[in-house]
Symmetry: C2
Subunit: 215 residues, 2 copies
DNA sequence: CTGTCTATCTTTAGCAG
DNA sequence: CCTGCTAAAGATAGACA
């Protein structure tokens, strides 16, 4: 996993597999050692090598004591803890998918936001938008206005004399059915609010899909 | 091990120790998983947590099969493989020390080389050198000249008409007792040779001592 | 094969919500 | 307690000696 990102599959090439085995075994042992030292816990690592007839074993007084404790557990406890590799990987895939969905959602939101502010700047919606996109944009703007309204309400009610410059009470909770049209004639107060928010248009986040395929 | 380098000791702070434990446990499991996949070997990791009553266990069909194989080994094989943590760390320290010595040696050599070429440039030895340093420098230059002579011999004997421009046969194998004096009146041939070598004066290498203290 | 180098990729300590 | 972020340290694949 350097120079060029390798995909996470069995290494067919004999030479490189063995080289990788040696290197990564060292790395794993080191990590185990560090975890053991930093957190004061016993750690045992057993690697059943195709390269060494005898399993490679890591640290801690003797591996036996750690193993013994494992052996003495009830079967129920073992079942609970003994995640096999496939389950482990499935768990990781699930987590990765969740993250992917979340980031995709965030991306969509941000694109919407950018689009919305573009509309405001040009006083019209981009001509490349289809009916579906326009509807989605409308829904998004509705929600956005609601959020802004709620915030305005909170701020005016709780701390009317706050130093934070907030637009008094324009563009209330009215839902905008056809937003692009509505925005073309928005009030001055609303425009001020827009100005303030212009600065915080975030960039579309990136999400590395390879991280999913790797796990 | 980010932002600021932490020393490798038990984490006294309860909160950060637990946080580190969780993070590093995940990391260790991931590494184990990867090693298992890439090299097609069975790997078992058992972590006896102070945070979980039951040991944390990693992958591979069932950990039991890996453990069983370990259990079935002869005591002799076990002793051979069952390096305890202290031994493991001592081994690493040994290796680190060897590396340190090696790098120190290289550094000294390179400093000598630089010094030598400084002498040649200025046609005299730096005034800050004590008798011992001068003697060491003399010894070094002796050796250097010998190496050069040997190379010249090889090249002139084996490929006298080679395209490689090499000084014919100056500054033979004569040992220089007081090198700085001798060099002040060196032959033109030798000076040419020096010119050629000027380009390859290497920088003094660095060696991170922290890497030793950490292990 | 065993060790060394280094450009890249991955892990993680310390913070901020 | 947990989650997410990020700068910095660590790990390592591929090439080479």
């Amino acid at each position: 996993m350097a120079r060029n990102r390798a995909k996470m599959t069995f290494l067919e090439n004999n030479t490189s597999r063995k080289a990788t085995f040696r290197k990564r075994k060292e790395g794993l042992m080191k990590k185990a050692s560090e975890l053991s030292i930093l957190c004061g816990v016993a750690v045992a690592v057993i690697i059943e090598g195709e390269y060494s007839s005898v399993p490679e074993v890591f640290p801690r007084e003797d591996v036996g004591s750690v193993i013994d404790k494992w052996d003495k557990l009830s079967q129920a406890d073992k079942d609970k803890k003994m995640v096999n590799h496939e389950k482990y990987l499935k768990q990781r895939i699930e987590k990765a998918k969740e993250k992917l969905n979340k980031v995709n959602k965030e991306n969509r939101e941000m694109e919407m936001k950018e689009l919305m502010f573009d509309c405001l700047r040009n006083k019209t919606a981009p001509c490349f938008l289809g009916p579906n996109e326009l509807r989605d944009l409308g829904v998004f703007i509705d929600q956005y206005i609601k959020i802004l309204s709620r915030r305005i309400e909170t701020l005016t009610n709780n701390q009317g004399s706050s130093s934070t410059s907030v637009v008094p009470a324009a563009a209330g909770t009215t839902s905008v059915a056809m937003p692009t049209a509505a925005m073309g004639s928005s009030s001055t107060g609303f425009n001020n609010m827009i100005e303030e928010n212009m600065n915080e248009i975030p960039n579309v986040k990136d999400f590395d899909l390879n991280r999913c395929s790797e796990e």
